[in-house]
């Protein structure tokens, strides 16, 4: 098993005819993902390779039975794309788009709740269940099928972590980038709840960064409700306050949000913290090695 996506995922890609959309759709297909359709309003009837393109998600779902959506729509139109997916009842939407206005996301979040659907992202690398399904922009080949869940707020830092896990012989059940924006669809806790119920996931690596309080919330949840071992890392120990470190959400503002506070909270919750990123693979082997073999 895995969480969110697997062999049964029937993926549709919103913005499939764009440069990013078409490139990554082909990468996903090459990895073995079942991409059943694409949506670009006004380009219905076209195809990308053999994948049919539709005008609306409603007709896509009716024709193809798509059950997950991956979004590459440009930022001014991305919130609308997320809502279209939600309104059509697609249970899982993954939004890669970076730079969506905060106000748009503040409107999207209650809309998603009303439709009872899940969003991953935006501004994220997507989701991969190694060996089964890739719905995102991560390089597939660095992953390996296995039983460690990975959750992170960033992209390339996640690849670095996954690479070290794979090199250490630790495969992954599912890897999720939840996104680097201040307002995102799914929090660390939302994903931890899914890993908790997944018997295949035997341990979790949680990668945080400065800004917000999602890591602290995760620490609290893990302390009281999560029984699988967790390895943690937080980026941004040297980040100065008031400067936005690339991600819109990665900013230390006023009280709270520093890496030091997050590390302390996570350690207090019993999470094994890695301080030096170069040592993560070895620390993972020490922590998970026994459970897995």
């Amino acid at each position: 098993m895995s969480i969110l996506i697997d062999k049964n995922t029937r993926l549709l890609v919103q913005g499939i005819t764009g440069r990013e959309g078409s490139f990554h759709t082909r990468q996903c297909v090459a990895y073995g993902t079942n991409v059943v359709a694409g949506v670009t309003p006004g380009k219905g009837g076209q195809t990308l390779d053999d994948i049919p393109v539709f005008n609306t998600i409603h007709e896509t779902v009716e024709s193809t039975g798509a059950n997950a959506s991956l979004i590459f729509v440009p930022s001014p139109f991305a919130a609308d794309a997320i809502m279209e997916s939600a309104a059509a009842g697609i249970p899982l939407t993954i939004c890669i788009t970076e730079g969506i206005p905060i106000k748009d996301m503040l409107k999207v979040v209650p809309f998603l709740k009303r439709h009872n659907v899940r969003l991953i992202g935006p501004n994220c690398p997507g989701v991969i269940s190694p060996g089964r399904c890739k719905a995102g922009i991560m390089p597939g080949h660095i992953h390996k099928e296995g039983s460690i869940g990975v959750i992170s707020r960033s992209g390339t830092l996640t690849y670095e972590v996954v690479h070290q896990l794979t090199q250490s012989g630790l495969g992954q059940s599912t890897c999720i980038g939840i996104g680097g924006d201040p307002i995102i669809g799914s929090s660390f806790v939302d994903i931890l709840k899914l890993f908790d119920k997944d018997p295949e996931t035997r341990g979790v690596v949680l990668i945080g960064e400065i800004g917000g309080s999602d890591e602290e919330a995760a620490a609290e949840y893990i302390k009281d409700h999560f029984n699988k071992p967790v390895l943690g890392f937080v980026a941004g120990l040297t980040a100065p306050p008031g400067k936005r470190m690339g991600h819109a959400g990665a900013i230390i503002s006023g009280a709270g949000g520093t890496a030091g506070e997050k590390i302390a909270a996570m350690r207090e919750a019993g999470i094994h913290m890695v301080e030096r990123l170069g040592e993560l693979g070895r620390a993972a082997r020490d922590l998970f090695g026994e459970i897995i073999s």
Binding site: K103, P139, E160, T238, A239, P240, G246, G278
Partner: protein, 387 residues
């Protein structure tokens, strides 16, 4: 994007939020003229920089004559103001705001912001105006009133009243108070703000409400629908290297250390800064070249890092995903040929096409130190012995 107090006050006026009479000036003589025009017996001269805590650094001063206004303006203009929020290097003052003096009876804090954890806007009010709201939230959370906003509804009148009475305003000022909150939220919502703050909002001796200070931050991602605000951006207030980088779509932030970094991805860039610190050195910058970096962008990134005279070594850390290592390596080699690099460069490549990338570096004839992993990169940075 941050704007200056005087710009924020102009926007407040458009939204009928009362502010003191005043004008922004760039020289002392102009300051005297403005003081004359305003009239009265007291004036305030306020340095216009993108940082709070100005009063503590001598950036807010009171004058009793138009001549004193000119004198103070002369002293402030061109000075480097250091406040608790500017960092030790301070910020240079190029503009001052001259305003009428106001007799204050009572001070409040009023603001609108985005509550990340609750995923909605929040309006905040407190009877403790003037001081830092973060410090107050930590020491006296009970003295802060918060109202969470349903974005579909906006700010209903009852929530505005909760804020007004919650911060302990004289009931006679209820109507004026709720009016300010209503307008504040309208401003916050219609201009895609991430923060609007009045600190302090005051009650004057003649029982008027007045916004003595004004702070507005716009959501950078929403500026495409408010192009009129782009011209409010004060590039004087920014580090020139940061301005240059942003023109080339490079995400660069100058820091105070001596090891320059170039990384793809913000999270990995932060982790790379941490690695440098742990290796006993200090990062000179944050630089995320992004997933779609071109040879030109990598070259520009190099140039910007090298313009920082403090840089005594460089670490390039790339995890190839979509950006392939061979493409990056070609870019690095080309950049190194164009730009005379006189400091040691450590290159760590991994991920897609890593072998091809390392071959390109090895065959370039250039003197790179190639690191095999993050741990190895840390060792090699330690070996630079820059600090």
């Amino acid at each position: 994007m941050k704007i200056h107090e005087y710009q924020a006050k102009e926007i407040f006026s458009q939204f009928s939020i009362p502010v003191p009479r005043g004008s922004v000036v760039r020289d002392a003589e102009e300051a005297r003229k403005i003081a004359d025009q305003i009239g009265g017996e007291q004036w305030v001269v306020k340095a216009q920089i993108h940082a709070g805590g100005r009063g503590k650094g001598g950036g807010v001063r009171v004058a009793d004559t138009p001549e004193a206004v000119a004198e103070i303006a002369k002293e402030m203009l061109g000075m480097t103001l250091v406040t608790p929020q500017t960092g030790p290097q301070g910020k240079r003052v190029t503009k001052v705001l001259v305003e009428e003096g106001v007799s204050v009876k009572q001070e409040f804090y009023v603001g609108a912001a985005v509550d990340r954890a609750n995923q909605c806007p929040v309006m905040i009010a407190s009877s403790e105006g003037g001081m830092g709201i973060e410090a107050l939230a930590a020491s006296h959370p009970d003295r802060i009133v918060r109202e969470w906003i349903d974005v579909g509804l906006g700010l209903p009148a009852f929530q505005a009243r909760n804020l007004v009475f919650g911060m302990g305003i004289n009931p006679g000022l209820m109507r004026a108070g709720t009016g300010i909150f209503t307008q504040l939220y309208r401003l916050f919502d219609s201009f895609d703000c991430t923060l609007v703050e009045i600190n302090p909002l005051v009650v004057t001796e003649d029982n008027q409400l007045l916004a003595l200070d004004a702070k507005i931050e716009f959501d950078d991602n929403a500026l495409f629908r408010h192009k009129e605000f782009l011209e409010l951006k004060d590039t004087d207030a920014q580090d020139p290297l940061e301005v240059e980088a942003s023109q080339h779509r490079l995400n660069y932030i100058r820091l105070e250390g001596d090891v320059g970094i170039m990384v793809n991805g913000a999270g990995l860039a932060m982790a790379t800064m941490d690695l440098i610190k742990q290796a006993g050195a200090r990062p000179a910058n944050f630089l995320d070249v992004g997933g779609g970096a071109t040879t030109e962008m990598v070259t520009k990134g190099f140039e910007i890092i090298l313009q920082d005279k403090n840089v005594r070594g460089i670490l390039i850390n790339i995890f190839g995903g979509i950006l392939r290592c061979d493409v990056l390596a070609k870019g690095v080699v080309e950049a190194a040929k164009k730009v005379a690099i006189k400091v040691p460069v450590v290159v760590r490549l991994d991920g897609t096409n890593v072998e091809e990338g390392r071959d390109i570096l090895a065959q370039s004839g250039l003197d790179f130190m190639v690191a095999a992993s993050m741990a190895d990169a840390a060792e090699k940075v330690r070996g630079l012995e820059v600090s």
